[in-house]
Amino acid sequence: MLRWIRDGGQTSEFEGVALVHLDLLYRAALRLTHNRAEAEDLVQETWLRALRHFDQFDPGSNCRAWLLTILRNAFLNRLRREGREILESDMAATEAGAARLEEASVARSSPEEDFFQTVLHGDVDRALKTLPLPFRLVVTLADLEGLTYKEVAQVLDCPIGTVMSRLSRARQLLRKELATLAREHGYSKESR
């Protein structure tokens, strides 16, 4: 893998397993912070924490989930420190409410399926930004990064059932937002 040999200072075991996940951490941090400098800072903090607690990492277990867990905790700690508190326990209530809402409004009709044709470059980013943090996080992990439900559950420290309900709600919100953006494009085209 390494093209250049240098004498002195081997690549550490930590870098050996963690370095391949650096891009993933960076992308996830960008989705959380929406800001490059902040994302870099968050990954740096994650990296140092991981490095310092590497003895707690079980070599047989999932490294990317482990690193993402540290990233998520570091991010939530930041929010708390800054007073931008988003309690994940509030989520339970939100989700219950959302589920009832979902049943009432049969919002998953098919006509809006056509909006896929009109999704423009950048729409997904914009739509994702409108999602509340817990939904944004679950979509980022499962849909953008392709983590399994089990991995997502580990990162979010919640049961798989919660991952499923949150993901379903997140996708529904995302779909609604994308459809709105698509309608806006359609509207602006017609008005021209």
Partner: protein, 264 residues
């Protein structure tokens, strides 16, 4: 499976997260129920749209910083393990303080630059493709620098010494913009850094070495050899595990190339 049973399994079905039994049941239902088929299809398309999003990578500069961070942390740990007693630690702290104070008074600024250049070399040496602009063509590399920075960067031909051009980068070191050429000899990387307008406020640190009538400063850092010199307002620094003779030879070629360019 009927629609009511399928509904809560829709996402797990689309994500391939159902166990074999329920998966087969769900497939059977979807193949006979247009409504659920349509919904599964819609979810699949959303999923594909999301998976198709461009996947950004961490900027090389940031990656290098992360690598340097890990290395510093490692050194810190080793030092900690090595220092058994608090008294000894205090003594070393004092010594470190004295060293810092000393380096601040004598050429601290530029040793810092050289230190960060060494960090950069180490960081990029770990990358599969360390060049931002990969090319073995000297004119192409020179043109890239001109276009990107407006700088005229001498790109010497070191191939007679068996050293091949790999490419170039633009880097930041100590708040300076740095032109960075990468060469390799076999599997050994050599970095050539050029820091324009470095200022005259401090002398370069290191052992002075004379080579064919020119003065250079040599420093060993983290198992690497560095050869640095100033030419007008520009600081030049070579970093590699190559021996000093090879590095000085390259330095000489670089000077000659720069002089040749100046005449043009």
């Amino acid at each position: 499976m009927n629609c009511r049973e399928f509904d809560p399994r829709l996402h797990a079905f689309v994500d391939g997260e159902l166990d074999a039994g329920p998966m087969a049941d769900a497939e059977a239902h979807v193949s006979t129920c247009p409504g659920c088929h349509g919904r599964a299809d819609g979810e699949r398309r959303l999923r594909q749209l999301l998976r198709r999003q461009p996947r950004e990578t961490a900027p090389a500069e940031f990656r290098a910083r992360i690598l340097a961070l890990a290395r510093r942390e490692r050194t810190r740990k080793q030092v900690r393990a090595w220092l058994g007693t608090p008294a000894l630690a205090a003594a070393v702290l004092l010594l470190a303080f004295m060293l810092i104070a000393r380096s601040l008074s004598t050429g601290g600024h530029e040793s810092e630059i050289v230190a960060s250049l060494v960090d950069k070399h180490l960081a990029y040496a770990q990358l599969e493709g360390p060049a931002e602009f990969a090319s073995t063509e000297r004119p192409a590399v020179a043109a890239w620098f001109r276009q990107r920075t407006g700088l005229r960067v001498p790109v010497p031909d070191l191939s007679p010494a068996g050293i091949q051009l790999v490419g170039a980068r633009i880097a930041e070191a100590d708040q300076h913009r740095v032109a960075y050429l990468l060469y390799e000899k076999g599997h050994v990387l050599m970095s050539v850094f050029m820091v324009p307008e470095v200022g005259r406020r401090a002398a370069l640190a290191g052992r002075s070495m004379s080579f064919r009538g020119q003065e250079y400063l040599a420093q060993e850092r983290q198992g690497l050899r560095t050869v640095s010199w100033r030419d007008g307002q520009t600081l030049f620094s070579l970093v590699s595990t190559l021996d000093y003779e090879a590095l000085l030879e390259c330095a000489e070629q670089l000077r000659a190339e720069r002089a040749r360019e100046a005449r043009l």
